[in-house]
């Protein structure tokens, strides 16, 4: 299937290539970085890109290229962790709300709407400011911002599936709520949520980099792309410090979004026929 889509879709192919590249880089990063990403060399700080330092060096003489490569790991992990955490919470929450329905559903959905209305980034900043910025706190904050999306999708899926006759069939056979929920409804509802989660990966990476740009990620000297761009803003006149990590975020997000965009098209049954 993959190949067939790829053949017909230029953007999708690019996405696949870019993403695979980043995943490979993340896997083998320590082996291919030309320098230790932590090694400081104050004698050679702020070196412009050259054959020695492809992306130049930063304010304490570290090799930006090596740091960008290493940074792919954190970005991927952060994106993955957020999505997993948020979709897990969202699925359970939305599933319960949708299944029980009625007033419970109404109240639960109002609460999730409230979380959605809540300015997420401010929430994240507050949490980070309060608990101290760290990867865990940031991921936690992101998951808190993110789960209602999944809850909503899950809920509507569950509500739609709840009406299905096979659920009624199970009911008429005397199946318990537990069994109905986990055996009949859940397996048929998680698909779209998981798809949404995959498509959301790029957005999670973006949000994470935004937060780490604000200084809310893991502490230095972790090579976080967002934080590196912030360093670039601080050292405005050395364009390479911020440009390359920014490009890294961009390419990773573009890659996942190209895939997501094409998949979205592909998964839409009305559009699929013609792909």
């Amino acid at each position: 299937m993959l190949l067939r889509i790829m053949k017909n879709n230029f953007l999708f192919s690019i996405g696949i290539i870019v993403c695979s590249l980043w995943i490979v880089i993340a896997l083998v990063a320590p082996l291919i970085t030309p320098y230790n990403y932590l090694a400081q060399d104050l004698a050679h700080r702020f070196q412009a890109p050259s054959s020695l330092h492809w992306f130049g060096t930063d304010s304490i003489g570290r090799d930006v290229f090596s740091r960008v490569l290493m940074g792919s790991r954190i970005s991927l992990i952060a994106g993955l962790a957020t999505i997993i955490l948020a979709s897990f919470v969202g699925m359970i929450y939305g599933g319960i709300a949708g299944y029980i329905g009625g007033l419970t559903d109404e109240i639960m959905m109002r609460i999730s709407e409230m979380v959605m209305a809540f300015p997420g980034i401010i929430l994240a900043m507050t949490i980070a400011a309060a608990l101290g910025p760290s990867l865990y706190n940031t991921l936690l904050a992101m998951a808190i911002i993110w789960w209602p999306n999944y809850a909503r999708v899950m809920r509507s899926m569950v509500i739609a599936n709840k009406e299905n006759e096979y659920v009624e069939a199970a009911k008429s056979l005397g199946a318990s709520h537990f069994r109905i929920f986990f055996n009949e409804i859940l397996p048929n509802s998680v698909g779209p949520v998981l798809v949404l989660a995959t498509l959301d990966f790029g957005n999670a990476i973006l949000l994470f980099s935004g937060l780490s740009f604000l200084g809310l990620g893991s502490p230095p000297p972790t090579p976080e792309w967002g934080a590196m761009v912030a360093d670039g803003v601080l050292n405005f006149n050395y364009w390479w410090i911020g440009t390359f990590p920014g490009l890294a975020i961009l390419t990773m997000a573009v890659g996942t979004n190209f895939i997501g965009d094409s998949l979205r098209d592909f998964l839409d049954p009305r559009l699929r026929k013609e792909l």
């Binding site: 067939r4 699929r272 026929k273 013609e274 792909l275």
Partner: protein
């Protein structure tokens, strides 16, 4: 080749083929279909779901989506081959000389325009009516299709109407330009029994009033019996039998038609065990070799699974696609292209 076709044919479809290129592969939804309709006549097309009835109707209007659909053959309407006309010319015929009523009244109307506006549209487009004239005519049409308080319905949106009302609006819209040919693709299947009766009655009455030919697509033999002059039976993309209504019902020639007729419970028949056609319609990707109906056929012989039968005339008005008939007719068989 076919010499017995009268010049009074309003529409003649010759060797229509439609195939779809899908992700699972290519399949032929309509195979070598030839049909003709005289003006003023009502032709019924019956057949199982997926047998290509709608696609045939759509290809008359050149509405088969392309891609994935690929159409070939001749569609001669009013002495013009519609397939050779430019899109612009086809558009002038659509909605004007040929109109169509669709199966789903719920989704076939645009939800964000009022019914009146949608009825007026073809009038403004094809007849060059002024807005005022168009409105007057639209109200007239609404009255004609039996909608009470047309002035109010005119202003309402489709969702404010019941299914039966919507189907009436669809009919009014189709009849707006007094088309010469009306294609009705299962116009009543989505409706309730009593409403279905209303619509059928309406169509019957209108048929006399508007004097257009009608192609009535349905899988309900009852509707065919009540409405049609002639019947075409389709199976797996092919015409398997055609003929005048009464003859065909009394004396079906194709085993499929026969099975179909016998398997329907009716209230006039005595209660007895229903006749069945065993098996299921073949998947379009796995068409059986030879005759498409052969795996389900009680009379099938080795010949049937080896070679596909042609559509042959058994009388000037009747044609059938079956080896049994071929064998009975012996050497006399003639290949025809028009299901008469």
């Amino acid at each position: 080749m076919s010499d017995d076709i009268g010049q009074d044919d309003l529409l003649r479809i010759n060797n229509l083929n439609v195939q779809f290129r899908t992700s699972e592969g290519v399949f032929r939804a309509v195979r070598d279909v030839s049909i003709s309709v005289r003006s003023g006549e009502t032709l019924g097309i019956v057949g199982e779901s997926g047998s290509g009835k709608s696609v045939t109707a759509l290809s008359i209007m050149n509405l088969v989506p392309n891609p994935p659909g690929e159409t070939s053959g001749e569609i001669i309407f009013n002495q013009q081959n519609l397939r050779e006309l430019s899109l612009e010319e086809v558009r002038k015929i659509r909605g004007n000389e040929i109109a169509m009523i669709f199966q789903e009244p719920m989704t076939s109307l645009n939800p964000i325009h009022t019914c009146g506006k949608q009825i007026m549209e073809p009038l403004l487009l094809h007849k060059g009516f002024s807005k005022k004239e168009a409105k007057a005519r639209a109200l007239e049409l609404l009255k004609m299709v039996g909608i009470p308080i047309p002035e109010q319905r005119f202003k309402e949106y489709p969702h404010q109407l019941s299914g039966g009302m919507r189907q009436r609006v669809m009919i009014a819209m189709a009849l707006a330009c007094r088309p010469k040919l009306l294609l009705a693709d299962e116009p009543t299947t989505a409706l309730d029994v009593t409403i279905q009766a209303q619509i059928m009655e309406l169509l019957k009455n209108l048929r006399q009033e508007i004097d257009s030919a009608i192609i009535m697509i349905t899988h309900d033999l009852g509707i065919i019996t009540e409405m049609c002059d002639r019947v075409v039976v389709m199976y797996a993309g092919q015409v398997v039998e055609s003929g005048p209504l009464k003859e065909l019902i009394r004396e079906p020639l194709h085993p499929y038609t026969e099975g179909l007729l016998r398997s329907i419970p009716t209230i006039t028949k005595e209660k007895q065990r229903l006749h069945t056609i065993e098996g299921t319609v073949p998947s379009p990707f796995e068409m059986p070799f030879g005759c498409s109906f052969q795996p389900r056929c009680n009379y099938s012989t080795s010949n049937c699974s080896e070679q596909a039968p042609d559509l042959i005339h058994v009388s000037p008005d009747r044609a059938v696609r079956c080896w049994r008939q071929v064998n009975e007719l012996g050497q006399d068989n003639r290949r025809v292209e028009h299901g008469r």
